[in-house]
Amino acid sequence: MTVLGRWLLAQLGRAGLAAWAVTSFVFILSRLDATKPVDLLLGEPDAQRTTLAAGASAARRLAVEQRLGLAEPLFYVSRAQQAGVVSWQWHGLHNQYHHWLVGLAHGHLGLSFRDGQPIGPRWRAALAYTLPLAGLATLGAVAGSLCLGLALAGGPQSRGWRAGLHLLLTGLQGLPLFAVALGLLFAFANPDVLNILPAYADAATAEEAWPQQALRLVLPVAALVLAVLPELALLLASILSQELSADYATTARAKGLTTNQVLIRHALPNALLPLLTAWAGLLPTLVAGAVVVETIFALPGTGRLLAEAVAAHDYPVVVAGVLFTALARLLALALADVLYAWADPRIRLTP
């Protein structure tokens, strides 16, 4: 096996281990309070309805807990304290964590508390919306940041359009995503302003041509791009400006290269390392952004799925979301390490 192969295997192993640890922690933490999902499923009583017979409420509660698997012990051992005496009790393999872990090992993420349905297909369906959205947003943000970063670093920023662009990006960076998304919505899907883009994603019909369906992604993608673009562009512009003041850039200019040639041939490769770190760090921003964008534009993606599951205390869905996010984040970091090695041959990967 090559060095890269061994390194990748080690990285994947570490990522899997870390994801398991994080997800297990969230699983146990969420199940410590089993009352909220049961309360939510049973709902609040309406006035003027027939009331339950004495004891029926407790029985109803127990029935829900048993159906959700919450009546079982949480972990292999539990700690009890009676009259100041602490005792540990062994529950064997019949516990919630063990069932979840065995299911996970077999590729089953569990059943939703809300409707008892398997979680895997739900996440797959949501990813079918979020992956294109996040992928397009990442491409847009990376391409946009390269263009804008190079444009900003190509000359003095004290005046002219560069100053205006710098100010605009700084202002955009300070705006919360929901304001950007709503701003786009009110600007481009509003009969009182510009009524040229769909207000939400669902208006698509099966008969609609794909360019029109793609149009429905324009505003959500634009909102996500605008959420991450300013930070990346300003970062790149700052690094490039530093590189341009380095000795090697002065030498290159003295040899007759134009500023743009120096930027693209010499400064940009050197600016890639910190930029790779920033690109690898896009995932948390996109996950957080997806919650807002998918809610505003009515896209049934993972962000909305996760937000709704958290609000409904649908812990199995939440735990699956944590697992996916942790895995994606760890794999993105591993990918960034590979790209580091590619961008800078001095970096060596050791398993």
């Binding site: 909220k36 009583p45 004495a54 009969p191 883009l197 009515a298 049934p300």
Partner: protein, 584 residues
């Protein structure tokens, strides 16, 4: 970058030009929902949208008539006949409509009703909520001379049995029990099994078949006798219902409102965000916008173009915004203190500030207009009155010190009047109420700690009693007057969040529930409302409005005080030339 935007704008213009905004030959209606129904299993309808969807797919014996605010016969040919036996049993005699059939032409029979009830009480199914709403049903008896006639045997006696006993979707027996194996098992036996969770092989097999069929996501596998069938469902995006070409109620000579189904297609679009939904309406991407927030309603009304295109409706719902006290807290144990603190709320201004003045102030939990005959209008409306609050506090034994209001507690130590007020974070109305209350309390020198609670944790907070005061919506309905669930000492650990209840008030609540004649009910309800003001375990501030905006060519929406606040199946499209702007 500019080319990118130019391309987007050009493509967008082309797209919007080619988008048809005309309704599909005036046969389809597009309605906004804020959330997915999640589950269409008739046994576990998890939210209002699921209930609304189930009403399109299934028929109950009785269904709520939005126009009159009463239950009307649907599958039943009339309201049930009541027979009281002794003081602990009720018999409800139903007769099914002779025209009622399933999609395959088989008649809907009493055996189908019995099968549905067995499913509702079947252990191992997610039926806890519907089971608890029918927990008074003990057995079903068939009429040997008429397969459409049956009697429900109910434990206990209460006027609301008459309506609640028929408020469940009736399901076809043949779909899940084609061999009729469950007929050998009486409903009484199934009810007993649900109570003691004793395993019965036939029920276990039924539960497995039901779960395996995944009815919640494939309602076509248990097709009901409602007017629509689900033709498309993309979770958290949209649901489309198509009208059945031949529905049994079409043959009725004069179909009542609950058996009318006009649109050939109903499409429910899930749009969580209010602003997006408003723009979708403005762009004619949806036709009906129910449950509109006050802010969006106001914004739409302010637009001349929206005024031209849409009709605006507002009805007073049965949801009352209520402040409640934890009467188990020593500082809130006496009614004088609770009355005094009630005076710190300003319902009149709060109604104006949060609901544009729509909605109604109230003296109690009864609807001021719809329950007029029982509403005690001789009582004063709750008002903001700081001087009176101070007087009442002093009468309750509180003394104003430089450090605040104190009085000796039961253990001899002084206790201080300081309050923690809980409310759901997602409702701006609650936040406004909480801030107004805190400002008033500060003027009086009472420290108030505002505790916004995440929506899903609020029920647990209330049930466990981790609060001094709360602000929440108390839901009601026009069908019965039973306050046991929210104010009886028996339910202090369940839905009676204020933990209120004395032997006297318990007896009054029981008497209200048991009253049989309108005169008796009126007298008892007047006393109940007076008791509620005097004891003040909770303070009803105002009834919330339901706001609805719809394309002005839409007719027969029946804006109503009960959820969902309109009737989707009765909607028709008016001739565009004839339609005139409507505002209600």
């Amino acid at each position: 970058m500019k080319y990118f935007w130019a391309g987007c704008l050009l493509a967008g213009s082309m797209g919007s030009c080619s988008q048809p905004v005309e309704q599909q030959a005036h046969t389809a209606v597009r309605i906004r929902w804020t959330r997915d129904p999640e589950n269409l299993s008739p046994l576990s309808l998890s939210n209002q949208n699921a209930v609304d969807a189930a009403n399109l797919l299934y028929c109950g014996l009785l269904q709520a008539d939005l126009a009159t605010g009463t239950y009307a016969p649907a599958l039943a040919d009339s309201l049930p006949q009541i027979q009281l036996l002794g003081d602990s049993l009720t018999h409800l005699r139903y007769q099914l409509r002779s025209a009622a059939t399933w999609d395959d032409g088989r008649p809907v029979l009493a055996t189908d009703v019995a099968f549905t009830l067995k499913l509702i009480f079947c252990p191992g199914l997610p039926n806890e909520k519907v089971r608890s709403s029918l927990n008074f049903v003990r057995d079903i008896r068939f009429d040997p001379t008429n397969p459409r006639r049956f009697t429900l045997v109910c434990r206990g006696q209460a006027p609301e049995f008459r309506f609640e006993s028929g408020d469940f979707p009736v399901l076809p027996e043949d779909a899940l029990d084609p061999t009729h194996s469950l007929r050998r098992l009486s409903l009484a036996r199934v009810v007993a099994a649900s109570a003691d969770a004793s395993p019965i092989p036939a029920l276990t097999a039924l539960a497995e078949r039901y779960q395996k069929a995944d009815i919640g996501h494939h309602p076509e596998r248990l097709a009901g006798c409602g007017p629509y069938r689900l033709t498309a469902w993309e979770t958290r995006r949209f649901l489309t219902f198509e009208r059945k070409p031949h529905w049994w109620a079409d043959a009725l000579p004069a179909a009542p409102l609950v058996l009318q189904a006009k649109p050939l297609q109903l499409r429910f679009s899930i749009i969580p965000d209010d602003a997006t939904a408003t723009l979708a309406l403005r762009r004619h991407e949806v036709d009906v916008l129910p449950q509109v927030s006050a802010r969006e309603f106001k914004r739409l009304q302010a637009s001349a173009a929206a005024q031209r295109d849409f009709a605006f409706y507002s009805t007073v719902s049965y949801e009352v915004v209520t402040a409640g006290f934890n009467t188990r807290r020593s500082i809130l144990r006496d009614s004088l203190t609770r009355q005094a603190i009630s005076k710190l709320f300003d319902p009149a201004r709060l109604l104006q500030a949060t609901q544009l003045g729509q909605g109604l102030r109230t003296v109690g939990l009864l609807h001021p207009t719809n329950d007029r005959r029982y509403y005690n209008s001789s009582l004063p409306l709750p008002t903001y009155d700081l001087p009176q609050a101070q007087v009442l506090l002093r009468r309750a034994g509180w003394l104003r010190q430089p450090t605040g209001w104190t009085r000796p507690a039961a253990n001899g130590q002084p206790e201080q009047l300081a309050l923690a007020l809980c409310y759901r974070t997602e409702e701006s109305t609650f936040k406004t109420i909480a801030l107004q209350f805190k400002a008033a309390a500060t003027l009086l020198g009472i420290p108030v700690d505002l505790r916004p609670v995440e929506g899903s944790a609020m029920t647990t907070t209330l049930r466990e009693g981790n609060f001094d005061m709360y602000v929440r919506i108390q839901k009601g309905n026009p069908f019965a007057f039973n306050y046991t669930a929210i104010l009886h000492s028996r339910t202090a650990n369940e839905g009676n969040f204020s933990k209120f209840g004395t032997p006297t008030t318990d007896r009054l609540i029981e008497a209200v529930d048991a009253a049989t004649t309108p005169a008796q009910k009126r007298q008892l309800l007047h006393r109940f409302q007076a008791m509620l003001q005097g004891q003040a375990p909770l303070v009803p501030l105002f009834f919330l409005p339901y706001r609805l905006v719809a394309d002005r060519h839409i007719q027969h929406l029946y804006p109503a005080a009960i959820k969902p606040g309109y009737s989707a199946p009765t909607i028709t499209w008016a001739d565009k030339a004839a339609a005139a702007p409507v505002q209600q």
